[in-house]
């Protein structure tokens, strides 16, 4: 058996400093497919999950003061797809949903964010995210995870969703259909999530595609403020859309069925966002 990696040991140490003992103990019940050396085949490591939570927790609890509504809709086991709106110029929403799912489920579940292709290619960030469960956005990765009964986090708008101009905040971009097709094929319910707060965290003056090129990123936002603002995040989980009960797996090949499911998901996310906007007292509260 291989010795623990230095990064694993360091991850454990930092996590133990940042998380209460009870939370560390709870994370000990985290289920993952150990490929033999403390990592799953995609690189997820429970030590790094704990590290990730300890790093994000101050942001989650104190800076963005996340309010979670309807987390009981997250399936406790089996394959499922969480489909959320994407926003904010930097992917804080993904980190916060990841943390929220981890904290709201018991035994804890790690949601596997499906990231755009450029994310795994980013040095340090790509590796750190992979240790926490992120995988690159290929169909094969998503299928493997669903077959293994994992919980996926997908932003069906993709990068266009996160790079919206401020004046178009909370206006959903066209949902890509891949998540609907995969959910039907693998019998996974889709949990719509409306994220409110992210659009105001980092208003961008403009987007620079030239600056993004060296990093393989579609564009880099030039923000109007130096740091994300301490907006309050509201995460609204909707009732799961039971595509696994309504459709047979082979119907994933029917474009009309896939389009209909995708539209239903988009409508559900839209409704949750509208509810969140109505219910929040203000951007920072």
């Amino acid at each position: 058996m291989a010795a623990p990696t230095p990064t694993s040991s360091l991850a454990r140490l930092i996590a133990s400093l940042g998380l209460p003992a009870a939370e560390l103990e709870r994370l000990g019940a985290l289920h993952f497919r150990d490929a033999g050396h403390g990592f799953d085949p995609f690189g997820l490591s429970p030590d790094h999950v704990a590290l990730g939570e300890s790093v994000v927790l101050p942001l989650y609890e104190r800076y963005f003061r996340v309010r979670s509504v309807g987390a009981h809709h997250i399936p406790r086991s089996g394959p499922a797809v969480i489909a959320a709106n994407h926003s904010g110029n930097v992917p804080v929403d993904g980190m916060l949903i990841w943390t929220d799912v981890l904290r709201q489920t018991n035994p804890p579940r790690v949601v596997r964010p499906i990231a755009d292709h450029f994310v795994p290619a980013l040095p340090f960030i790509g590796t750190f995210f992979a240790r926490g469960g992120m995988v690159g956005g290929s169909r094969g990765n998503a299928q493997t995870l669903l077959e293994a009964g994992e919980l996926l986090l997908i932003f069906p708008e993709g990068t266009p969703g996160i790079l919206k101009p401020f004046r178009e905040r909370y206006q959903l971009r066209r949902f890509r259909e891949g998540h609907a097709e995969m959910a039907i094929r693998h019998g996974a319910p889709i949990v719509p999530v409306g994220v409110v707060g992210g659009e105001e965290q980092l208003p961008a003056l403009f987007l620079s595609r030239r600056l993004g090129k060296p990093f393989g990123v579609p564009a880099v936002p030039i923000p109007a403020v130096p740091l994300p603002l301490p907006v309050r995040y509201h995460l609204y989980y909707g009732e799961p859309i039971p595509v696994h009960e309504r459709y047979r797996p082979e119907e994933a090949d029917d474009p009309a069925v896939v389009r209909a499911v995708c539209a239903e998901v988009q409508a559900a996310v839209h409704a949750l966002i509208q509810r969140g906007l109505r219910e929040r007292p203000g951007v920072f509260s």
Binding site: A2, A35, G36, H37, H117, G136, S138, G140, N141
Partner: protein, 356 residues
């Protein structure tokens, strides 16, 4: 036939009359193994000789015939034949000579150039044309019914937008910029695949994970031989490693199975590159990615090491792990022998530059 082209068999009985092959069920396997002087080839030969279902093993070596393959060879069960597989005529003489006389019914093709620096038409002939000839000749051979070809994880493309878990239909590494070492492996693999279903000949291609052992052509083994292993800063991809024991198990199961097709053969060790470095007892030193290629070129020039970073660049950035589901379901192969870290660099007898 000239003396040079004539296969030299050291085992008695090589001139026995042509055997009319009975059905698979009626007799044990008679197996020809190319690349028998490699660590994997030697282990396979020993394993087959210990298997009561095997009647005879014909070990093909590029070097002078080596009776050291086993300590106490039984001439009725083992014959060692020296043949250079870089000429079609020599292969024909082998298959329609000693192999036919021995009633060989299964060929396990392990012979491949192991040096990443080897290039040129002779190397290509050894890596690719020899297999093409074996496949073509086997189709009209009176006794050969099954061919098992060892392929390599290097045939697969690894890049950021492809799945981490590599199934058999994963894109192949067909890039024009790939070195001959890779191109030859891809071409040999595709050549074998193209013969599937074309005749009664059963063709099995085993795409093996990297065998972390000396003399196997493992780039990673060569990389890990340095006291300090450089790796591109910010990246720590997942890799999968195979032991010779598990590789041998997969080959043996392929010999005794009737299925044909392409199968991934993963190993029992799936871990990040940094963990492999540490488990080996080496110091992993992250450096800017742009430094890696020149530094390892200098290492190669100064020390003669075989590892080429340019050839492994993507594997050092993005994860690529073989998915062994098909092999598990069809061949009943499950990796069972994890690597005993650190690997003893002298634990296996070093082999020569070619795997014939």
């Amino acid at each position: 036939m000239s003396q040079a082209d004539r296969p030299s068999s050291t085992a008695p009985g090589a001139t026995s009359p042509l055997l009319v092959h009975p059905s698979w069920a009626e007799h044990g396997r008679r197996v020809l193994v190319t690349g028998a002087s490699t660590p994997l080839g030697e282990r396979l030969v020993r394993t087959l000789l210990n298997d009561s279902r095997v009647e005879h093993v014909m070990a093909i070596t590029a070097e002078p015939a080596d009776q050291g393959l086993v300590t106490d060879p039984d001439p009725d069960r083992l014959s060692v034949v020296q043949v250079d597989l870089d000429k079609e005529r020599r292969i024909r003489n082998l298959l329609f000579g000693p192999a036919r006389d021995r009633g060989i019914d299964c060929v396990v093709h392990l012979a491949q150039h192991r040096s990443a620096h080897a290039r040129g038409s002779r190397v290509h002939a050894f890596n690719v044309e020899s297999l093409r000839a074996i496949l073509e000749l086997a189709e009209r051979h009176p006794t050969i019914r099954r061919i098992v070809v060892r392929s390599d994880v290097a045939v697969y493309q690894v890049q950021r937008d492809l799945p981490v878990l590599i199934a058999e239909d994963h894109p192949l590494n067909l890039g024009g910029g790939a070195p001959q070492w890779v191109q030859d492996r891809v071409e040999a693999d595709v050549t074998a695949c193209a013969r599937m279903g074309m005749s009664a000949l059963e063709v099995v291609v085993l795409r093996m994970a990297e065998v972390l052992a000396p003399g196997t052509g493992s780039q990673l083994f060569d990389y890990l031989e340095s006291a300090v292993c450089l790796r591109p800063a910010g990246y720590d991809p997942m890799i999968n490693l195979l032991t010779t024991e598990d590789a041998c198990t997969a080959l043996t199961k392929s010999i005794f199975n009737d299925a044909q097709g392409v199968f991934n053969v993963p190993g029992a060790d799936t871990l990040p590159l940094s963990a492999a470095i540490r488990s080996w007892g080496r110091l992993g030193l992250p450096v800017p990615g742009g430094w890696m290629d020149p530094l390892y070129r200098w290492r190669s020039k100064l020390t003669g090491h075989d590892f080429r970073y340019a050839m492994n660049r993507r594997r050092f950035h993005y994860s690529g792990v073989l998915d062994g589901r098909r092999a598990r379901e069809v061949l009943l192969y499950v990796p069972a022998q994890p690597i005993e870290w650190p690997v003893d660099p002298l634990g296996e007898e070093p082999a020569a530059a070619t795997g014939g």
